[in-house]
Symmetry: C2
Subunit: 494 residues, 2 copies
Amino acid sequence: MSDSLFNTPLQIINIGIGDFAETLRQQDVPVVEVEWQPPAGGDANLVEILKQTDGSRELAEKIDAANQEAVERILASQPRVVDVAPAAQALGLAGRIILHAGPPISWERMCGPQKRAVLGAIRFEGWAGDNESAEALVESAQVTLSPNHRYRAVGPMTGIISPSMPVLVVQNETFGNYGFSTFNEGRGNTLWFGICDDATLERLRWMRDTLAPAVKAALHHGGPLNVFDIVAQGLQMGDECHARSAASTSLLVKTLMPPMLDAGVSSRTVADIIRFMANNNHFFLNFTMAAVKATMDAANGIPDSTLVTAMSRNGVDFMLRVSGLGDEWVVAPVSPMDEAVYYTGYSVADAAGDIGDSAIIETCGLGGMAIAGAPTIAAFVGGTLADEIAAVEQLRLITVAAHQKFSLPAMNSANTPLGIDLRRVVESRIVPFITTGVLHETSPTVGQIGTGVARVPVALFERALAALAHQWGLATSLPRPESVKLEPVKVASA
Amino acid sequence: MSDSLFNTPLQIINIGIGDFAETLRQQDVPVVEVEWQPPAGGDANLVEILKQTDGSRELAEKIDAANQEAVERILASQPRVVDVAPAAQALGLAGRIILHAGPPISWERMCGPQKRAVLGAIRFEGWAGDNESAEALVESAQVTLSPNHRYRAVGPMTGIISPSMPVLVVQNETFGNYGFSTFNEGRGNTLWFGICDDATLERLRWMRDTLAPAVKAALHHGGPLNVFDIVAQGLQMGDECHARSAASTSLLVKTLMPPMLDAGVSSRTVADIIRFMANNNHFFLNFTMAAVKATMDAANGIPDSTLVTAMSRNGVDFMLRVSGLGDEWVVAPVSPMDEAVYYTGYSVADAAGDIGDSAIIETCGLGGMAIAGAPTIAAFVGGTLADEIAAVEQLRLITVAAHQKFSLPAMNSANTPLGIDLRRVVESRIVPFITTGVLHETSPTVGQIGTGVARVPVALFERALAALAHQWGLATSLPRPESVKLEPVKVASA
């Protein structure tokens, strides 16, 4: 095994002796509990590939060097919000197209909330007046569907982006590349939760006509906004910046409002925007997502790297991007949402599958990787801060570095695990988890029904490793897995 | 010993076996370490009083009931900022008077920073044009000095309040009583740090002429501000609300600005105020102080109660108020600031003594009592979150309750220790500590030179117990200690 596995101090690693771990946990000692399993689940083909890619072999050294390069690019990235613009202009969308979270999917296979959000976006664009005629447009291919990631964009939950929606334009100043996300809609009846009624459309219009120009004016007047500065502070204030962005949203208010006022935005509008942000603790989530997208794209496409650079789900399928595979993503069915904490009256039987582009956050040392930063969501992983700390320590077993800018106050300022190495995941069967919400599959009015963690399917890491094995020319009886090519569309303006 | 000592779960209490504690601490297990000492330091007189006031004796039952009443009043309190007004009007100040933090003190004995702040305030009021003539006014008694607490007010550090300074008017809606504090001046050359130059005066004028009317307008338009709602959220975001109010200040921005804009305050002023608050992480401190003052005053004056209702220092003397002694405060010299973390180039030799009315915060389950809420100040008590948790657990040994509204995310949402019982302090020699700053004694330009904890002198608790013993008519050879009577001045308007 690579030395880099152990580049950060562990507390206690407990393999297969549950009682001892339980005792320690009762005493609030962080415990990393690893149930003993044969490497790679005992799969001889995978074990053989792992042997070739580990230790002091030439290939292993190439991989480690590539992963090091990927980590350095992540740490060197400086994502800043530089502008706000309509998606059509910023992403270069032409014609009637609706973007969505997750891998490409046919209308027939799309999950309930994402379908409902697509129809809502078509009504928002004015291409149809009701859901029936909107659906007819999709079914007759007069509206096309495409993943956000193809356009360097990301959206939370259903993740719908339509051409006239405003997007945050984030530039990675170090490498020049861009990332995009919509504004977060907040609570209640919203597209991101798979609901669209008149209030949803009215809120979307307010975001387009009032919120977006005001934020644009603030950025033009005050200059680019350093997203990771706010994220780093948010981690000191109870956010892990995926399921919880309460503190970072507050920090954004005090950063953004003075230049917005200076730029001449009316008092009434600024007051409304502060109230909107004060009522939406997820407001900063989309800033984080676009910044992480711009960061992780800069670390993608490094030959031989086994680090994960994006994870994305549409409620049905989960796609994973690995740096060494470039724009070839591997795909597998999403995991069931059976670990979530459901609101009263709901259960996994009501749940849409794991959904959203937001899982890219976990590839950058945030969200699940930083869960000990948010003691208020300890229920996600066992109920106590000690459980959260143990979870972070376990994630160190599948990561190769730590994010120097992101630290965890409850772990004496230890930096968060960074750089998911699929070799370690395949070997240990420890998969990353995502801090996320759960949507109702069938109801057009309920929206969110729970929160909790979703596990990334281990099959994705196995497939990515098999694909790399073929790329490296290793002898293996594993077939080259199918993949999805998502070459980003080039945009002149960005 | 009273059962109430153990009304909250302890982790591990370690008496006198340092090695074992060290081992546990290395594993992040919270450890309460109590060096064994004879009760009351072996003082036979104190031991005899404690015997009479403990266990199942009639007096002990009266005390416990009185303490229960005090705790109930604290928990029932609803302090809200209802207005902003000039100190002269709100506090009923007549003529040339300067209020200061801590117990009454003569000009000759006053510490350096407080003297310099008094002179600055005289210049701010326009009663003198320079420090020499200002000092002449004090020395000739043409300006009088008085403690803030006499006027139901509190001020941080030097704590100077002069008649034209605006104060936050906090009303305890449950009991009707009021508490007052100035606005926090922020960093740099400021009266609260014992510095006064032209920039200091200019800032004070801006606070009086621009900040105060704007906050007043926001309160009149938006209604009273619930201080403890923000404090409770701040504790979830890394504040302990004495040495650190960064999160609560951010939360205040998003609460206060919409009504301020709605009230018609100009965009430029609102932008300036947000910038001022964004540059001053202590801005919310004075809100907390005034709210705690209005809360603890409501719990004062309960016959037989041994709970501490205020602590206050002027850099030379420390005064302590106990509910059962009403407006009779006991006084002792302040402790040396030898536990503080000094900025480079400074040491305890440069330090003014422990100073400020802000120590009232610790009587209400905040500050030192909540230190595990602020992992970023772990250096104050040993360097790690585990040290902070151990410190809070130790404070449970001298408190009788927990504050139901204030909880600590790093301690699985345990409530903070509340209700310092002087019997437990005298018996155990464990004294409360205050999270505070340190000022330069002699320099007129340096200001703050460190941060850390200050211990409350144990002599104060001994004196208060002796005073109560005389009040109870117990046979004791201890003399009745001298005390300071600070009957609050009645104010018609508030």
